[in-house]
Symmetry: C2
Subunit: 253 residues, 2 copies
DNA sequence: GAGTGGTCTAGACCACGGT
DNA sequence: CCGTGGTCTAGACCACTCG
């Protein structure tokens, strides 16, 4: 009996909300501006707070928003482009480096790392922690795994634990002839320790860049770097590392 | 009154759940196996379904699980490595290509694309849709923007709309001398059309690879490719594109 | 039609950051 | 202390897949 089938596609509320908010961000807000709190926003749109939050989560994932507990929700600046994989034939720590050595331990690596390094299961490797800062904000945390066999000249007690030892290991690495590197990027979620260093909550989305450094026909070092997915755009260039200032296409709806 | 402050760090339930489930996946389940449904799992762990879902969401984000409405939750296979940015100096569509041309339209591109192409705001460009399949599964959807000025020999009605015209445009592109390319990777969420092609729901997490093809001192073409973030690991190699069969380090907690 | 995951609600309490 | 976002609950209904 004339059951008018309008509203043909019942688009989810949160999806529609996201679109509306996204347009509002473009036209009515400027970077850094603080949004009304979640309870007010939910009331204003006539939805439950959970639904509103679902929309905000998506916008945060896309780098449009930044939310901080106890503070509020702010409009995020455009993602910062961080160069990865330039200086194709350079060891980590060489030349002027964007990374800062934080610490260095000697320990057995995770199983997957050991397999990639083709070291024994329980064989200890140098584990260098580094952090990367861009525009005053921490953007990445890295763990660099270096088998002792890659730096044979180094004695384990060469320097006191800490940044000094980390730098000593990296310095020693430069002596090898680097034959190439292979990188992979995938989505992950921040472990508790990385999250702390990145000023995010555990579980925050990150881009994990795994790089194998090849020398002497094998993997001489392995880097696992986790970048903040909300604030970073990873750039790979073969054109001399030209900085792209162009805003990438907004992928929102 | 001896308020024993055990449980020192009230780790969120869903986080702990994620860890437990993750270990269970490693030890008690095999790839493709189907998990109990969400209501049963929630009951078994004594949490609300929403909490259980929060844990599952994280695991899906990390590529450990695959959920499909009306079907169930299954254990996902390891992420497939897809090569990006190899054949550094090749145009899209050249040689044996992993991409398949789907369609080609002539339309005004999004503002951000127009800016990157340095074309006029309303200037129409060829917009080629391509899709990429790996191991029988769709892994990426791409939009290739090519200004008419990059393929001057082509007449707009050279071929009927559809794959044939798409291939004609790509063929024409080969005539230019490619000077380099710049790529960037960032996290995004799938638009409705891309989601459909990738067999996912709108909003699903994707890795967006934006590539500028440089010729004649300017951007001759722009590719925006969206890869399924749950199933893909993007590989960048300067060592001849050696396939890495090694499982990357699991970033789960 | 039965069973699955996806959406949505209206509450509650907690952890954190500033005042 | 108050206000913020983060977590959690116990329901309900919807959209989809498949037998």
């Amino acid at each position: 009996m004339g059951t008018t089938q309008l509203e043909t596609v019942p688009e989810p509320k949160y999806w529609h909300l996201k679109t509306v908010l996204s347009e509002a961000l473009d036209s009515e807000f400027s970077v850094g501006e603080i949004l009304p709190n979640e309870r007010d926003l939910a009331a204003r749109f006539g939805v439950a707070r959970a639904t509103l939050r679902q929309a905000l989560e998506q916008l945060e994932l896309e780098g449009r928003l930044q939310r901080r507990r106890g503070v509020g929700t702010t409009v995020a600046p455009p993602r910062v482009g961080v160069a990865v994989g330039t200086e194709q034939h350079a060891w980590p720590g060489g030349g002027e480096d964007v990374w800062q050595a934080v610490d260095c331990a000697v320990a057995a690596p995770p199983a997957a790392v050991a397999a990639s390094l083709e070291t024994g299961r329980e064989e200890a490797v140098y584990t260098v922690r580094r952090s990367r800062v861009s525009h005053g904000q921490p953007v990445a945390a890295e763990l660099l795994y270096i088998p002792a066999s890659s730096v044979p000249e180094l004695s384990a007690i060469d320097a006191p634990s800490g940044p000094a030892r980390a730098r000593a290991v990296l310095r020693e690495l430069q002596r090898l002839e680097l034959e190439g590197r292979e990188s992979a990027v995938e989505l992950g979620s921040a472990r508790a320790d990385d999250a702390k260093e990145l000023d995010r909550l555990p579980g925050a989305p990150v881009l994990v860049v795994t790089t194998r450094f090849l020398a002497g026909g094998r993997t001489a070092a392995l880097s696992v770097a986790t970048y903040r997915a909300d604030t970073c755009r990873l750039t790979f260039g073969d054109s001399g590392g030209v900085e792209i200032h162009q805003d990438p296409e907004r992928r929102a709806s």
